[in-house]
């Protein structure tokens, strides 16, 4: 399934494009994170430290959230909208 990347995350993967991750049936966010950690350890570390959140269908997801193929997944680095 496709995993959208934003902000600094794009600079951390070759090509700077969205990720393509294979997820077995019945997979959870935890499994997705695990797959990413293997292929992109730099991104994986940020996920591990909870600096990067995972959203499923545009809502922040827990690591136990179940995924289906049609879900819209994104990795969200710390937000920096607004003004200081």
């Amino acid at each position: 399934m496709k995993v959208k990347l934003f902000g600094m995350l794009k600079t951390m993967v070759p090509g700077g494009k969205d990720l393509e991750v294979v997820l077995s049936e019945g997979g959870r966010v935890r499994d997705l994170v695990h797959s990413i950690q293997i292929e992109h350890p730099q991104v994986g570390e940020l996920l591990d430290k909870k600096k990067v959140l995972v959203s499923v269908n545009q809502e922040i997801a827990h690591w136990e959230t179940m995924l289906v193929e049609s879900d819209e997944i994104a990795l969200l680095p710390p937000f920096a909208g607004g003004a200081r």
Partner: protein, 147 residues
């Protein structure tokens, strides 16, 4: 006597700059009961955490960003004694001094307007998927506001 209000115009993520007078009209149009309007306008500073900034670019998660801004407006209308709220954020390249974000709150009384306005901008920074890249003499940096 319901005034026709296009709710979509009250919550926007857009590339173009905006006029505060024009956005204000959308809020005032809601009710002649409005007596106090609090606004917050965020602009692009030339300085950030001790280094110069020459310009910046905002990236947003299309769809989710709009959804979160809509949530902010709705919660503000529910939780504060206010009449209308407008929340607007730009994306794309922004020059120093330009507008970035605008919150407008119309209320009967000013104390409520101020409270809601501050809450909205604080909440926006917490939950809206928008990211900033700053162009500095030391290179381009994606800003982590909450490292």
């Amino acid at each position: 006597m319901a005034v026709e209000i296009d709710e979509g115009m009250l919550v926007r993520v857009q590339q173009e700059n905006f006029s505060i007078d024009q956005e204000l009209e959308r809020v005032r149009a809601r009710s002649t009961r409005i007596g106090g309007i609090a606004m917050f306008l965020g602009t692009a500073r030339d300085h950030s955490k001790g280094h110069d900034v020459s310009s910046m670019t905002f990236e947003h998660y299309e769809g989710m960003a709009q959804k979160k801004l809509k949530e902010i407006r709705e919660r503000a209308l529910q939780d504060f004694d206010i009449i209308e709220a407008l929340v607007l954020h730009r994306y794309g390249p922004i020059e120093i001094g330009e507008n970035i974000v605008l919150i407008i709150i119309g209320a009967e009384h000013r104390a409520d307007a101020f409270k809601a306005c501050q809450w909205c901008i604080d909440e926006l920074k917490k939950i809206t998927p928008i990211w900033k890249m700053e162009y500095t003499p030391q290179g381009d940096v994606w800003v982590e506001e909450h490292p």
